[in-house]
Symmetry: C2
Subunit: 190 residues, 2 copies
């Protein structure tokens, strides 16, 4: 690997936010999963979580390569996923179209945070809604009921990016030695 590429990967690894993640609950259209992964890479998410019955939900869809840089972790149930997040002391937010939900811009994303996204047709499951700490909503003033799920994911993630940037939470070098080594290895042998 060239010194330049080593430097590029090393710098991007420094920016990774180990305490910010999303959880896709049965999101299954490949173009949506792919768009979510690209947005995750763009704001510095290291691992994306999925509750999925289809093993291939995270399969490579495009040649853009987000799948090569963002790690994915599958869970057998939303219970298992939320338990994992709570063990990591993350607040668990579920994006949901609900009168009780809080405006997504009122959340403090500088805290360790996991954001649950619901399935394209039916949204988040009742289990996810019950387990999450808060429901959040992106305001809409039109006639259509919901946004595309990858769009909703990106809007919340970029609000988190804005707040974390402002709070100086990038450049903290949060990854472990092993995590960095894996990224450098991947980058050296693409």
């Amino acid at each position: 690997m060239s010194a330049e590429r080593y430097q590029r990967i090393s710098t991007f690894a420094d920016l990774r936010q180990a305490d910010l993640t999303v959880c896709l609950e049965q999101v299954h259209k490949p173009h949506n999963v792919s768009a979510v992964l690209r947005s995750c890479d763009a704001v510095g998410i290291h691992t994306v979580h999925a509750v999925a019955t289809d093993e291939n939900v995270m399969r490579k869809d495009t040649a853009m390569g987000a799948e090569d840089w963002v790690f994915t972790q599958r869970h057998g149930s939303i219970q298992a996923a939320v338990e994992h997040f709570h063990q990591q002391k993350m607040q668990v937010l579920v994006t949901h179209l609900d009168d009780e939900a809080v405006d997504f811009r009122e959340i403090d994303y500088t805290l360790p945070t996991a954001i649950i996204l619901g399935q394209e047709k039916f949204g988040a499951t009742p289990e996810a809604l019950a387990l999450a700490d808060k429901k959040i909503i992106i305001p809409m003033v039109g006639m259509v009921q919901s946004l595309n799920v990858s769009v909703a994911a990106a809007l919340v993630l970029y609000e988190a990016q804005r707040q974390r940037q402002q709070a100086g939470l990038y450049q903290r070098n949060q990854l472990s030695f092993e995590q960095r080594q894996i990224l450098l290895f991947k980058g050296g042998f693409p």
Copy 2:
């Protein structure tokens, strides 16, 4: 049409932002076009513009119905589209991955504004870049080069929504009598 539905459509018509729009330059994947239209409806855009050789680019893709509420206008060339925007005294922004581009959050979207989005593979054309007043970029800290086009559109539109909300630009009732009548007619006979 029920009095309730009349009221709902009338209220949503009041929120329409006639001086904010997007222009899709050869964006052609139906799921991307559909996701953009949903976001446009959600922030109150009344007419979306497209430079497209394919007549069907705005065809109905899902049953979500954004196509029923957001009007679309096709232009034969990007020149014709930009001329149209400048006649309406809009600033013309092109979203582009470029070192010279301005951070999208630094723009004043309370001004009349048109936002050009480029094609999935090749981005905006050199003509669009030359004709636009400003290039804007959404910052990314990962390894992947670009965001999905519908994601990029939504991020810029929701920054515009945030600024316009704060500035009190919703509830201005910007539509003409005829435009309102068409919406009410559509809503009455879906």
